[in-house]
């Protein structure tokens, strides 16, 4: 298949046409950003330097990052800060502020994700559950998605979140098993699959979802076998997007896949039996937070 090679390190490189985003420096963007900043909240949109930020913020859509903004892991694809010395205890105030933001922005589908907190006894699971409880008090048909870390595979933690009954329980595999050592060295592919499988076993009615990045050096067939593994774990929704290097300390993208290749992934996902699948260069796991409307 034809792909475009990436020149490494060059600042003057041009991206292929399908990796061009539009800047929307408008009122909605400014209002979302100001509210988040006023409340002192963290979003993955900002922490990950997401190129979709204009599109999402301008329609008052964002993905909240809870449990602070410092991560205990050192995944090589991610720009979130890592510094164990600055870790803070979970803060209930953070959750009340998210509720305020959701109400003020009029968000209908909220995605809550977090940094990985391997330092906490429950890995942050009760904070997720509290967050779901607090957001449920808003009512009005608000849909809640929790995009959780692997909790080191701790079943009590998974159960805690599932018991809070978010509408969607997500955990991202991020990449194919062969590249775990390079991309997310502290994670384990089978452990991550088990997080999704166990969540579904606990609650057959919960929608489960996972995402992977393409362009990290995986073979197309490896993506296909990840899809099969996810279906075996009874995962309902998959997202696949192009990996884009967020900062100099992160891995280079090995290739930029053409849009047609993502269409192929959609075909495979359909064949594999996913209820929903979102595959495209700028698809991000939480960009599709409007999934319930589609």
């Amino acid at each position: 298949m034809k792909t475009q090679n990436v020149s490494s390190g060059s600042r003057s490189k041009r991206f292929p046409y399908w990796l061009r985003q539009s800047v929307r420096d408008n009122e909605g963007f400014t209002r979302t950003r100001e509210l988040i900043s006023k409340l002192g909240l963290n979003t993955v949109c900002q922490a990950a330097r997401c190129p979709n930020i204009h599109g999402c913020f301008s329609v008052k859509r964002c993905t909240f990052l809870i449990l602070g903004k410092i991560c205990t892991r050192s995944c090589r694809f991610c720009a979130v800060e890592k510094n164990r010395l600055e870790l803070k205890a979970p803060d209930k105030e953070e959750l009340l502020k998210i509720k305020e933001a959701v109400e003020k922005l009029g968000i209908e589908n909220v995605v809550i994700t977090s940094v990985t907190r391997d330092d906490l006894a429950d890995k942050g699971a009760s904070h997720f559950a509290d967050c779901v409880d607090i957001l449920k008090s808003i009512g009005k048909g608000l849909k809640i998605e929790t995009l959780v870390p692997d909790f080191l595979g701790d079943k009590r933690s998974i159960k805690k979140v599932v018991s809070a009954r978010p509408d969607v329980f997500s955990h991202n595999l991020e990449t194919v098993p062969r590249l775990y050592g390079k991309v997310r060295p502290e994670a384990d592919y089978n452990r991550s699959l088990e997080v999704l499988r166990y969540a579904k076993e606990l609650d057959r009615d919960i929608t489960t979802k996972s995402g992977i990045m393409a362009g990290l050096g995986e073979f197309r067939e490896e993506i296909r076998s990840v899809m099969n593994d996810l279906r075996k774990a009874d995962c309902d929704i998959i997202t696949i997007g192009q990996y884009l290097k967020p900062d100099a300390g992160c891995l280079d993208a090995e290739e930029f896949l053409e849009p047609a290749e993502f269409d192929k992934f959609s075909e495979w996902a359909k064949e594999a039996g996913f209820k929903k699948y979102y595959c495209g260069p700028f698809v991000r796991s939480s960009y599709t937070e409007g999934i319930w409307q589609s």
Binding site: R11, V23, R49
Partner: protein, 76 residues
């Protein structure tokens, strides 16, 4: 006369490289037209023009690195 400045393209991204001007000096531009493509480490961004008028002068040439808030062009 108005200066079109580089807006923030993504959080914490303080500069970007001009990759391509969609208009040339002397062209008429409407507010909202995507006037220039900028590249960051992560992706490319089309920047819309905030004013209608004539593109008087391209201040930042293709290949130039521009900081957020610095002038890209002058529109009259």
């Amino acid at each position: 006369m108005a200066e079109l400045k580089l807006p923030e393209l993504a959080e914490g991204v303080n500069e970007a490289v001009v990759s391509f001007w969609h208009f040339k000096e002397g062209d008429s531009i409407k507010e909202g037209d995507e006037i220039v493509e900028m590249a960051t480490d992560k992706a490319a961004f089309n920047v819309p023009c905030k004013f209608s008028g004539v593109l008087k002068k391209i201040v930042a040439q293709e290949g130039d690195t521009v900081k957020v808030g610095e002038a890209l062009a002058i529109v009259e």
